[in-house]
Symmetry: C2
Subunit: 351 residues, 2 copies
């Protein structure tokens, strides 16, 4: 048994590291998976670049800026590793992993337009360099190319899973938009947003690896549950890091969610626990978007004081446990071990 005796034991072990080690541990886990899927991942990158070709020069330029430059390739790695976990011997996992990354890329382009973001992965966003209109249209192009790619794999169950996930992602983005600046937003709604905008694609990415491997319904369900719960846990930690992370390793500006009035878990918890005289602070900053020097630091202080950060991390650990439990219902091999390690270290990014 290569996995730790229990999921919570493994998560506790990950937590024991110090600040610098934590980030390095997560990156090492990603690197390990990249190494395990090395030649497939190179084929995925080639496929992505080839699909961005267009006689309209702006398309490969803009898409290349987003997609070819950097990114951990977390989602396509999930597809590749899930297929390999099940001993998949074909070649469709490469096309599908590329399609998953392209769906992700298209949503990033549109997200950055919607959020007005200026920085991603340490570089200027496409909407800043090329413009909002261009980002919307190239996002549509990338999304369409993702569909063309997945159609080539000729598997209707896979097509159903990925097209459904794409709709759910957009639904989650709209739901997030309608809860923005709304101090009454509930934790349950936040989890719905996270499930839809992030976890649905993680779930589809891993599920697809199971579907093409033609395993038992139980194993297909297990690998999907792994992806779904890991996705939720991952996003919860991301939302913590927006208040409690290191700007250099995040590759984006700290406090973006705060400035955009996003009702992520740390804010939802902090608002619920605010003292009567502090409520006006959250109203002014989150609801009214009137943010001055020192407000972000004050928000972080209140979140720490009232346990909003700790409770969000605890919630992430809970979903991570579910992910690890699901993974135990799949074969136990080096891919399972690497995926397990990915979950554990991703949670330990915060804590």
């Amino acid at each position: 048994m290569s996995l730790a005796a229990t999921a919570s034991e493994a998560l506790a072990k990950g937590r024991a590291r110090d600040d610098v080690e934590r980030d390095a541990a997560f990156l090492a886990a990603v690197t390990e998976l990249q190494a395990l899927t090395k030649s497939d991942l190179a084929a995925v990158n080639d496929e992505i670049l080839a699909r961005m070709h267009s006689p309209v020069a702006m398309i490969p330029e803009l898409a290349g800026h987003l997609i070819s430059a950097g990114g951990k390739r977390l989602r396509p790695i999930l597809t590749l590793a899930s297929a390999k976990l099940f001993d998949y011997a074909g070649q469709d996992h490469v096309k599908l992993a590329a399609a998953v990354e392209l769906i992700h890329g298209a949503t990033l382009l549109h997200d950055d337009v919607v959020d007005g973001s200026a920085l991603r992965r340490g570089a200027s966003t496409a909407n800043i360099i090329w413009g909002n209109k261009e980002s919307v249209l190239v996002g549509d192009f990338i999304f369409a190319r993702a569909f063309e790619l997945m159609v080539e794999a000729r598997d209707l169950r896979v097509l159903k899973a990925l097209s459904h996930a794409s709709g759910v992602i957009a639904e989650g983005e709209v739901l997030q938009l309608t809860t923005q600046k709304n101090l009454a937003a509930k934790f349950e709604t936040y989890i719905e947003v996270v499930k839809a905008k992030t976890a649905a694609l993680f779930a589809a990415a891993t599920e697809v690896g199971g579907l093409i491997s033609e395993r038992s319904p139980e194993e297909e369900k297990a690998i999907r549950a792994f992806g779904l719960n890991f996705g939720i846990a991952y996003q919860l930690i991301d939302d913590v890091l927006d208040y409690d992370g290191f700007e250099a390793s995040l590759g984006k500006t700290l406090g973006d969610d705060f400035r955009e009035g996003k009702m992520t878990a740390p804010v939802v918890f902090a608002v619920a626990r605010a003292r009567e005289d502090e409520k006006s602070f959250w109203r002014r900053t989150i609801a009214d978007g009137d943010i001055n020097d020192g407000d972000f630091e004050n928000a972080c202080m209140l979140m720490q004081r009232d346990g909003a950060i700790d409770d969000t991390i605890a919630c992430a650990r809970d979903y991570a446990e579910r992910a690890l439990d699901a993974l135990r219902r799949a074969p136990d091999n080096k891919y399972a071990e690497a995926l397990s390690n990915l979950v554990i270290t991703s949670i330990a990014r915060a804590s």
Copy 2:
């Protein structure tokens, strides 16, 4: 033989009508096709409404505003009529026609954001009522739902045709954006834009009717060529009407293309034929977007004087002839007759 003896004879006949009759003739041709596909079209509308359902209330609200309210349903009618033209007896044409209309709807939402349009079909656009962010995200949702729908028809050739068309549409929109305000844009580039942003979906809409009917490759090719050439002709006339139409029957503001600096055929022709002292007029208005009272009227006058309008219409008639020629390679029945009439009257909207 129910079609006129030659395509150009039929087009000349359509041209002979006066102003008021022209618009009424086109609407009558649409109504005729709506009547021929009546129960299928009702099923398409039900399918569309059902697919816009979401627990996120804003989605059916915004999508409903765009999709359920009005629109001629030209593209889904093309799918339905093409299938019936080939005696298709199944039910997949309804799902696919709905998917075609949803792809169109998603692109309209994004177009209106990109163009900053305020009016469509005589009503305020979704970006004006709900906002740009909302329109981008709901557009993504509608696009994803279109894919879910077409996957249900379980036909990989259809999926390939429609996903490819979706990519080409986005490519055309980007190309249009890069030629905007560029006085050096060529007529060939304009035709590329029209083929991609409009005709690709017309072509896929009719092709799909052929594919599901499992006809000979020649007939599949013919019905696709019909849609493609009709699409080009239709867009050319639309671009004429932006300078030479009736605002009331267009349902949008006259001169939108002019104000956006779009290099449509009338502008491309007019700029090429401008006298030396008129070139600064086109530079100021189209390239620099500095538009004053009377400029639009002056642009229209120059277009009439130099034959820019007439030549665009002549070009549309040429593509319409190709569409009618292609249609002659398909069965000759009441659907062919109605489609032929649609082409003829759509060209006669201008002239």
